[in-house]
């Protein structure tokens, strides 16, 4: 026998199920009057610093069918590359930018949508700068443990080329699965759960 470490096990994940919107976006699901608004529905206000952008996309299953019951959360740095979080020790983030958003995919089209700002660059563990990116977390019926991935920007070719996380993707043909197509201030980012274009998901 040895001394016990005294650690606990993380609670096991269970699927968010088909009714996740009741709990996380009740107003969207038609349950009004309980919360004033759905948490994470707005990320920016009219004083937020940085370039306004829109991100839209879908989550597609192994047949290419969009999920109409998924829920996506994003987490990103502000325009100066700082997170609005107590664990951010490098400085104070823009107080008018939460950095966190939540969007259900549309019940008809399967589209999600975020109105946010382009994030600044933040350092990798060794101090090198990562390319601007947004962390994504995807849950839905049929997903047993939330999926983590990142969105990188299609108009940041130089920064993407030196990004230490993208550099670790062995099969280079998969890198484009993390890069959102740019069209002015609109970016499109589809997430493929399976198949030839399966998005690179992370074990973070």
């Amino acid at each position: 026998m040895v001394q016990p470490l005294g650690t606990l096990k993380e609670s096991a994940s269970q699927t968010a199920g088909p009714y996740v919107h009741i709990g996380l976006t009740p107003n969207f699901s038609g349950i009004t009057g309980v919360y004033e608004s759905d948490l994470g529905a707005t990320i920016v206000n009219d004083r937020t610093l940085g370039r306004r952008i829109t991100i839209t996309g879908r989550v597609l299953d192994g047949t290419g069918t969009p999920l109409k019951d998924a829920l996506i959360e994003i987490w990103q740095a502000d325009a100066a590359g700082l997170y609005n979080s107590p664990s951010e020790l490098r400085g104070s983030a823009d107080p008018n930018f939460s950095g966190w958003g939540r969007s259900a995919t549309d019940g008809e089209t399967g589209e999600y949508r975020f109105e946010t700002i382009k994030p600044g660059r933040v350092p990798f563990r060794d101090g090198r700068l990562m390319a601007p990116h947004i962390s994504f977390w995807i849950v839905a019926r049929g997903i047993n443990l939330g999926l983590n991935t990142r969105l990188y920007f299609g108009d940041e070719a130089a920064a993407n080329a030196e990004d230490p996380v993208l550099a670790r993707i062995e099969h280079r043909v998969r890198v484009p699965t993390l890069i959102a197509a740019a069209d002015g201030d609109s970016y499109r980012f589809d997430i493929h759960l399976q198949g030839e274009k399966e998005t690179v998901f992370f074990d973070i």
């Binding site: 096991a12 948490l39 047949t63």
Partner: protein
């Protein structure tokens, strides 16, 4: 968003996730997972500042009835129908430290097993006084509590005759985005737990038992509500003592 805690914020990376303890992505007994589970290996990434940080929510977002599902959707003077219960417990990390300021959001079916949702087709009736959502934030010691009615079991389209055991869905935020977790709470003594294909996605019996709330007789309120105790464990952080630092820092 405000920091609730006077403690020094923790900034270490998280313990790696034990993916043999969690359900795998592909679990054919739960049919929907077959086309929704990634088939390629995940890219391992030791936490950067993007994963170590996360949103923190202040008590100011909470309404007075947010942790009372018996009343938060009910007409004035009325209340939801069902067995009145209190669910309480602590949010701890893997190092057994309390997680203060953790936002918990929960949702559930009504006492008859019916969800208030347009895609729900179970013939059990809606309760006009029950919405089915609530939320709260843990205190300095990681404690939380809410009041609700015990949800009913319900049938669902998977196998010909699959039923979910009574359960409450929980969404949990810790302090880092990598701690984000959704899970479900089950009730002590329910024989249906062990028949459920969604429960069975979890490979380890001990991991299932960790999701079963105990009837907490001591905290039952006489003539009012029984109590169930449900602790939630989130990933722990490494100590930062000997972490790699940037050269020159």
């Amino acid at each position: 968003m405000t920091d609730l805690s006077n403690r020094k914020p923790e900034t270490g990376a998280f313990f790696s996730r034990d993916r043999l303890w969690h359900p795998p992505g592909l679990t054919p007994g739960y049919k929907t997972s077959v086309l929704r589970s990634p088939q390629k290996a995940l890219l391992s990434l030791d936490g950067t500042v993007s994963e170590i940080t996360g949103p923190v929510f202040g008590h100011s977002i909470l309404g007075e009835l947010d942790n009372d599902l018996i009343h938060n959707f009910a007409k004035p003077g009325e209340s939801a129908i069902g067995e009145r219960i209190i669910v309480h417990g602590r949010v701890l990390d893997e190092r057994a430290r309390p997680v203060a300021g953790a936002l918990l959001e929960f949702w559930q079916a009504n006492a008859g097993g019916r969800y208030r949702h347009k895609k729900e087709s179970y013939l059990a009736p809606l309760d006009p006084n029950f919405g089915g959502c609530g939320r709260t934030i843990t205190d300095e010691d990681g404690h939380y509590a809410f009041r609700t009615v015990k949800p009913g079991p319900y049938p669902w389209p998977n196998g010909v005759n699959d039923w979910r055991p009574a359960h409450i869905h929980f969404s949990v935020f810790g302090h880092g985005f990598a701690q984000r977790l959704i899970t479900q709470m089950y009730f002590e003594g329910d024989p249906m737990i062990w028949k459920c294909p969604i429960v069975q996605t979890i490979p380890d019996k001990a991991a299932v038992e960790q999701l079963v709330a105990a009837l907490d007789w001591g905290n039952t309120i006489p003539m009012d509500a029984r109590a169930y105790k449900f602790d939630i464990m989130l990933r722990g952080r490494r100590s930062t003592l000997f972490e790699n630092r940037m050269e020159g820092n």
